[in-house]
């Protein structure tokens, strides 16, 4: 059962990677590498962790998932379509004129909690959702996925203080640490290290994982909150562009869109991976 479930998330990650590639290629859109770095995290969340229901996207007791790094919207739409929130055929409308599938996450798409795009917005809102859950005696959890570059934003650090102050142990931050941001390596722009220590100093419970290892992702997400009365953060070490060799760790693929030949190579690589 466990191995089947694990395989299911791996299969899901493959599908959403290839769909995100196709979407970004067709739309000539940016951010493919940022999409690929969170593919495994999203696959495990939607396959194994989140208590959500495609037939009732606004079910009040659902777990909340906020994609704070809204520029990875393609792969979020891909996973939601795969999980039945809307027809898979709609994915071909990504970034098309008049479409709801905007290049940054759009709350009008079924299953998307919040429109994002400007960085540093998701965690404060996650705090509000978690606080409401606590005060209303609800059992839902709030998961917020952030980029490491996004942690430059001061608003996040305000939220770190707030979440610990209000003992929001129903709030889980996941940081996609692909170590690259707009203009280069995060360590060369605003070095976040010692990153884990910073979260701990802000009174969060911290775990670090390989953000591409499905067993690790699943195990760590299954044990939240790590400590009662404390918000949890998962520092997920990832590779920008993961799954497509020529994109991996390459800043240029934060911006570039694969042409037809590049798309074919990328898809064959992903489909060829065990």
């Amino acid at each position: 059962m466990n191995s089947t479930k694990k395989d299911a998330s791996i299969q899901l990650a493959k599908i959403i990677r290839t769909n995100a590639l196709r979407m970004v290629h067709t739309a000539h859109a940016s951010h493919i590498a940022s999409n690929l770095s969170i593919a495994d995290i999203l696959a495990v969340l939607y396959e194994n962790i989140l208590n959500v229901n495609w037939s009732q996207p606004e079910w009040p007791d659902r777990d909340r998932f906020i994609l704070s790094k809204g520029h990875a919207s393609a792969i979020l739409y891909a996973v939601l379509a795969e999980k039945g929130f809307f027809p898979k055929d709609d994915l071909t409308n990504f970034c098309r004129n008049g479409s709801e599938l905007i290049g940054h996450a759009n709350h009008r798409v079924p299953g998307v909690e919040l429109s994002t795009g400007s960085l540093g917005h998701g965690l404060p809102i996650g705090c509000g959702l978690a606080l409401a859950g606590k005060k209303d005696g609800k059992s839902y959890r709030t998961f917020v996925l952030l980029g490491d570059g996004e942690m430059n934003e001061g608003s996040n650090w305000e939220s770190l203080l707030f979440a610990a102050q209000h003992k929001l142990d129903n709030l889980i931050a996941i940081v996609d640490c692909n170590a690259i941001q707009g203009f280069g390596a995060t360590k060369d722009i605003l070095n976040l290290q010692p990153f884990s220590d910073k979260w701990q100093a802000f009174r969060w419970s911290v775990k670090e994982i390989d953000g591409h290892n499905h067993a690790e992702i699943k195990n760590v997400l299954a044990t939240v909150p790590f400590s009662e009365g404390t918000p949890s953060v998962i520092i997920a070490h990832t590779v920008k562009g993961k799954g497509v060799k020529y994109m991996e760790d390459q800043l240029a693929w934060h911006y570039r869109s694969p042409d037809g030949d590049q798309l074919a190579i990328a898809i064959s690589e992903i489909e060829g991976t065990p």
């Binding site: 429109s115 795009g117 917005h121 959702l129 409401a132 608003s155 203080l161 707030f162």
Partner: protein
Amino acid sequence: MRMAFIESLCKIALQDKRIWLLTGDLGYSVLEPFANSFPERFINAGIAEQNMTGVSTGLALSGKIVFTYSIANFPILRCLEQIRNDICYHNLNVKIVSVGGGVAYGTAGYSHHATEDLAIMRVLPNITVLAPGDPIEVRLAMQAAVTMQGPCYLRLGKGGEPVQHRITPHFAIGKPITIREGRDVTILSTGGILNDVVTAADELTKKGWSVSVASMHTLKPLDEIFLISLCQKTKFVVTVEEHGPGGLASIIAEIIACSGIPIKFHPFMLKPETFATTGDQKYLRSAGDITAGNIVDHVIRLLDPPR
């Protein structure tokens, strides 16, 4: 106005369990009645307005009606993008309250003067912008803000604004309240400067002019047809606001221009060049030529220009 605000909020919160109040660590000696009566629905979010506004968004997404509170620019400019992207774009039930609209915090200086707030808030989507003129209008505006669905900005004075209404007027979002009726000039006033405007109107009346005064407690949305018909009743329309360019004057100028009806118009507002001056509220109003005396002198020149 602050007291009218907190009394109203407590009264409403007693009936409506969805009401929450978040402050950015301000409101000492004002917010205690709410904090003491509803500790479960009161959050001092600390001196962190971006997070406070984000938290209010999360609470509103969970079905709460959330008031955020701070002074002057702090609950709006510091967290403007959270208001634009999170509250307004998602059309959520967050009511942003700013105390000390205009130059009410006088000698506290430029950092504490809200002189662009109306101009900025009125251009955001979905938001209702309210600037009541006296404590009675504050109470009515509070009720309206809670009843309406969606975001709201409520600009309040700092305190001590005298009551202008002898009886409780009818209050509808978008419709100004007529306080004096006359034939020569219509004075449209927004926010806490209403007392100076009424004083000016009464002075002009003594001098033989027939003056209308309306309190523009709403700046967005507006019943434009009603407003144009109000403006057409007199020879001249003037606006008065404790605010710089882009607020009430711009709104009325836009409406008049788009109506195609020739209406003579003059704005009284603060000039950005005077913002750096040190002084109390009265002094700063005078520096901006928006006192009752300034209004009287200028309106007489408009109505009866020297030949």
